[in-house]
């Protein structure tokens, strides 16, 4: 069953999302290492949606939908911004960008989740994390 939480673009409002998702993951007995990965990716996706997507306009909302079952979690993070093209985001691990204090959110989402994709407009991120490691060919 999908659950949905809608919050304003205020970073102080985001803890309700993490609490609700963590509760679901613990009920399904996801390992703590996997939960840490999901927390980190969720934090990055929600903060990106608020700051880059909605430009911290509190009248604009961030919607998070999620579905947890015994094998995986699927999370959607949707903002009201104009969207972006993830292929144009500079690689924060390249030598010329390594000392930059920002620009690591997308990279962390991709590194810590098993699948990350965006809709064509670029204002909706969909992230999947499996409870157990699943070979890519079987996904």
């Amino acid at each position: 069953m999908w659950e949905e939480i809608v919050i304003p673009s205020d970073p102080r409002a985001r803890s309700v999302i993490e609490s609700r998702i963590l509760q679901s993951l613990e009920e399904k007995k996801f390992a703590q290492k996997i939960i840490f990965s999901i927390r980190l990716a969720l934090e990055e996706a929600v903060v990106n949606a608020m700051t880059h997507g909605n430009k911290l306009d509190k009248k604009k909302k961030v919607k998070v939908r999620f579905n947890v079952d015994d094998s995986r979690i699927v999370i959607e993070v949707i903002d009201e911004g104009t969207g972006f093209d993830p292929t144009t985001v500079p690689d924060p691990t390249s030598e010329e960008n390594l000392e930059r204090p920002s620009g690591r959110g997308l990279m962390l989402m991709q590194a810590y989740m098993d699948e990350v994709s965006f809709n064509r407009r670029g204002n909706k991120a969909t992230m999947i994390k499996y409870k157990e490691k699943v070979p890519e060919a079987e996904r």
């Binding site: 927390r39 980190l40 924060p92 390594l98 000392e99 204090p101 690591r104 990279m107 962390l108």
Partner: protein
């Protein structure tokens, strides 16, 4: 975030625990940079009780690193839990920061 900052013998000792994220990163930078000067230009972080760090937290450390460089100082990080060390490795920031085991 639980933060304790103490300048002593040329080193700014920073114990940071809990969570360093978008809401905490500016406070971390401000409180640590206040203690950095020509006499206390090196910073040593104790991450023993650090549970979570986001990209904003990493950004805060990079801002502090840049500030220490102005005085010719550097940063060392002690006792980071495995999951935190993994974030540094994933972002390749282990190439910029000296990450060391716990002090005995």
């Amino acid at each position: 975030m639980k933060l304790n900052v103490l300048a002593k013998d040329g080193v700014v000792h920073v114990s940071v625990g809990g969570r360093v994220d978008v809401l905490e990163s500016d406070k971390l930078v401000k409180d640590v940079e206040q203690k950095i000067n020509a006499d206390n230009k090196n910073v040593e972080f104790d991450f023993t009780n650090l549970e979570f760090i986001s990209s904003d937290g990493l950004g805060a450390l990079l801002r502090i690193r840049s500030f220490t460089k102005k005085f010719g100082g550097d940063i060392k990080i002690y006792c980071a839990p495995e999951r935190i060390r993994d974030v540094f490795k994933t972002t390749k920031l282990d190439q910029l920061f000296t990450i060391l085991p716990c002090k005995s």
